[in-house]
Amino acid sequence: MNSISISIVIINIILALLFSLGAAPILVWIERRVAGFIQDRMGPNRCHIKGIRLGGLIQSFADMLKLVFKEDFEASGIKESFFFSLAPVIVFCSAFLTFMVMPFADNLKIGAQVFYMQGLPIDLGVLWFLAFAGLSVYGIMLGGWASNNKYSLLGSIRAGAQVISYEAAMGLSLVSVLITYGSIHLVDIVNFQGKLLFGFIPAWGIIIQPLAAIIFIVTAFAEANRTPFDIAEGESELVGGFHTEYSAMRFGLFFVGEYVAMSASSALIVTLFFGGYHLPWLNTQVLQNHITWVLAFIMIALPTVSFFFSKWMFNNNRWLEEGNIRNRESKLLFKVIIGINLLVILGLGFWLSLGVEEIGANIATAVIQVSTFAIKLLLMNFVFVWVRWTLPRFRYDQLQDLGWKILMPLAIANIVLTATIVVVFGV
């Protein structure tokens, strides 16, 4: 263990934390803003720190603060106090653990050493996800049961039945994917997707295995308890479902756990079907070989993007009254954007003029891949939010019908089809 390996491990853990836990407030914000825009409303736009609103992002932090400082109330009917407190911890931890094996970038080679770029350097890959996604349901079931409340219990029962039935379809849909990729290791899977199909199409999972992708995405929605599969929560019929009795940070853990689980599901979907950390047509090898050109492109692209963003910002980031403190924000942000642009361009220019070595190329590639992964993750999360504010909730029997009668046979058929193709064509 030298200083490089330790720092890489620390960076990995920080990245994993950022992508899962740090993403929670951002996801909450996305959820609210997107919901607002989809429904022709504004969404959060009021909360500010000295005029800085960041488009309402501050509200999420205010919310978190509120959850931390609220009274942690426990109804007198709750007899299993220990399990009541344990439940949100289980949900949170298992959601968090699932995220830990997602690779943010290709294996980083520094000198002779190779580092896994994931939170926990375990190469159990997909199985790990299945295992801990399955465990998170205990939190929901325990929470509902310990609440000693009929609505909560109903929510738990629904969650239990839902997870059992959707895990089967999820596992089966994964089998065909794994047959295609020939590995359960996520890095292998992503690198497979870095190749090109017929020489010009990126061999992304969504293109090679569209059916498995659809089934997996649907079941991932169910595993993450997101609409249209959030019958465990079902506020219109079950008040709040399993978390009816929860308040303050114990509810907060459920709340954050849901977003972390959503993030983890998104990460796995991205990794399995959307090329993971790869930019299309630019796999690790290509990136490393043409790193100078890529960096130069960034030097041009960044100011352009910043220009359009600033224009949009000045148009839209306004407050009702003139002279309100919130109206100063745009100018301030504009200065920050200019500063970042200058810094990045100067830094990159300086570096390019010095010439890029192999280690530098590798690190730059890793940074680009991490950003790619982050953007893909955010887009996938956006899809989760988008679906939530479009589709209505399934009725319970419809949900079971879909799981057992449609998704599972389809997944099995897909396995047979994939296996046949693999055996016949020997791909």
């Binding site: 399990f83 299945l130 295992a131 465990l135 079931m141």
Partner: protein, 165 residues
Amino acid sequence: MDMIFLILSFFAIAGAVGMVLAHQPVHSALSLILTIIALAGLFALLSASFLFMVQIIVYAGAVITLFIFIIMFLNVKEANLPKEPNKNITIFLGFIGLLPLNFLILKALYHMPSKALVLSQNGFGEIKSLGMELFEKWLLPFELISILLLVALIGAVVFGRKEEG
């Protein structure tokens, strides 16, 4: 290694004891999960990494979940639980009764040649080597098991169906 082993076995046994002693079935099931997960840890310690995952996915993730689901689904009232006034005494007596048996078996096993159980390298216990072994040498039992699973599935459906009339 030793420390991890001791901690995991402690949790496994504690969970098992809790399972037997608990009055409520839900408590029993939750204790059993503790045992199952601790056992999964022991599997990992024996470098059976695939079994570790299978134990968690199948046992903890599916079987016990189903179990707790059924317990909640039946929503057994306190009054419908069996009365077991002498439970603790019978359990204690059972332990006393089983002590000699344990002693005998362990005594017999004690003379097996000792060898340190270590984490193995190069893919021992991983999915690939296990799969190779399974589909080369154990194909027939594998198929039989799958037929058994099918039969169990059909049986469960037949049992669970609403009775006519």
